[in-house]
């Protein structure tokens, strides 16, 4: 609950500090890179959570990370502020909220497509154009191949999931067999 409040507050603040819409997507990518660094290197979490490590050392490490990922000034300032306020560990929540803020500002929606085989360009374009028409927003398709789906594809648009995979059909069939009444 608290992390959601903090994530939302700083994400909105970062969005407010970036006036140019074109800089939003790079800022999000930079935030994601920093979050990924924390995921890949768990010792970073311990380092920033440790109360006896001086703030300047933490700031120096954050600065190095920002240099490595060539983070722009907006995100760099945010990270510095988070370090001063001991909120660096909420970076992931901030990134998640910032993603939704960016999507809102750019009138775009992220669609996760799970399919049994890689989508052809034509299929991907058809899907994108149809979704654009239905949702009246720019579509960002994130594809993922999962052979265990056997055939077909499934979509995740925000909280809405539409599953048209063979695996789901078989699961429905299994449920109907299990629930079938025997006279």
């Amino acid at each position: 609950m608290l992390e959601n409040v903090i994530g939302k507050r700083y994400a909105v603040a970062l969005s407010g500090s970036i006036k140019d819409d074109f800089k939003l997507q790079p800022a999000l990518e930079h935030l994601r890179s920093l979050v990924q660094a924390f995921e890949v290197e768990p010792s970073l979490t311990s380092f920033f959570a440790h109360p006896s490590i001086p703030m300047d050392k933490k700031e120096a490490l954050l600065s190095k990370l920002c240099d490595r990922f060539k983070v722009d000034d907006g995100v760099r300032n945010l990270v510095k502020m988070l370090n001063e306020r001991k909120k660096v560990l909420f970076l992931e929540n901030i990134a998640d909220y910032f993603e939704s803020v960016v999507d809102n500002r750019l009138n775009q929606v992220r669609v996760r497509v799970l399919s049994a085989c890689p989508l052809e360009k034509k299929q991907s374009q058809k899907l994108e154009s149809s979704l654009q028409r239905i949702l009246n927003k720019n579509i960002l398709i994130e594809t993922e191949v999962n052979e265990s789906l056997i055939g077909g594809l499934a979509l995740e648009v925000g909280s809405v999931v539409v599953d048209a995979t063979i695996k789901n059909r078989l699961a429905q069939l299994k449920r109907s067999i299990e629930q079938e009444e025997v006279g």
Binding site: S115, G151, L173, E178
Partner: protein, 174 residues
């Protein structure tokens, strides 16, 4: 008669005898008879009183007897009522006990039937689940083995149509 020939001899004797008899009678009447008569009267009164008392007692005894008989009749009536009520109670108790036993038996029967039905349903559900799992697993294996690349492409095309229709429906209703 020679006796009467001697009257002149005994006339004074007879006279004095008569006088003394009269005197005795007078004295008796004056002093002896009244207390005797009083005593006799008192005795008579006492006897009459005793008889009256006895009559009264007899009456009382008869009344008491009647009262006792009445009480006895009431007591007998009460006893009969109590016996009748006891019979009724015993009958009711027996009927209640019979009804309770019947209800318990029915409840036990129902529970047994429920248990049998539950076990049957559980078993059927397990069989259905096992059959479903087996069927789906076999189908998955067969599909994985038989689906070609073209089929996969066609399935994706069909799925795109399906998800678009579904999303249109969802979007229209929201």
């Amino acid at each position: 008669m020679p006796q009467f020939e001697q009257v002149s001899v005994f006339s004074s004797l007879i006279f004095w005898s008569l006088i003394s008899f009269g005197l005795l009678l007078f004295l008796l009447k004056k002093y002896a008879f009244p207390p005797i008569l009083e005593m006799l009267e008192a005795r008579e009164k006492k006897i009459r009183g005793d008889i009256d008392g006895a009559e009264e007692l007899k009456k009382q005894a008869e009344e008491m007897k009647k009262e006792f008989e009445k009480q006895l009749a009431t007591a007998r009536e009460k006893a009969e009522t109590i016996i009748h009520l006891a019979h009724e109670d015993a009958k009711k108790q027996t009927e209640k006990s019979l009804a309770d036993t019947q209800a318990k038996v029915k409840q036990m029967q129902r529970e047994a039937e429920h248990e049998i039905t539950s076990s049957r349903n559980k078993l059927l559900a397990e069989i259905r689940s096992y059959t479903a799992t087996l069927t789906i697993a076999s189908t998955e294996k067969i599909l994985n083995r038989t689906i070609e690349e073209n089929d996969k492409k066609r399935l994706v095309d069909e799925s795109i149509e399906e998800v678009i229709k579904e999303l249109e429906k969802t979007h229209a209703s929201s």
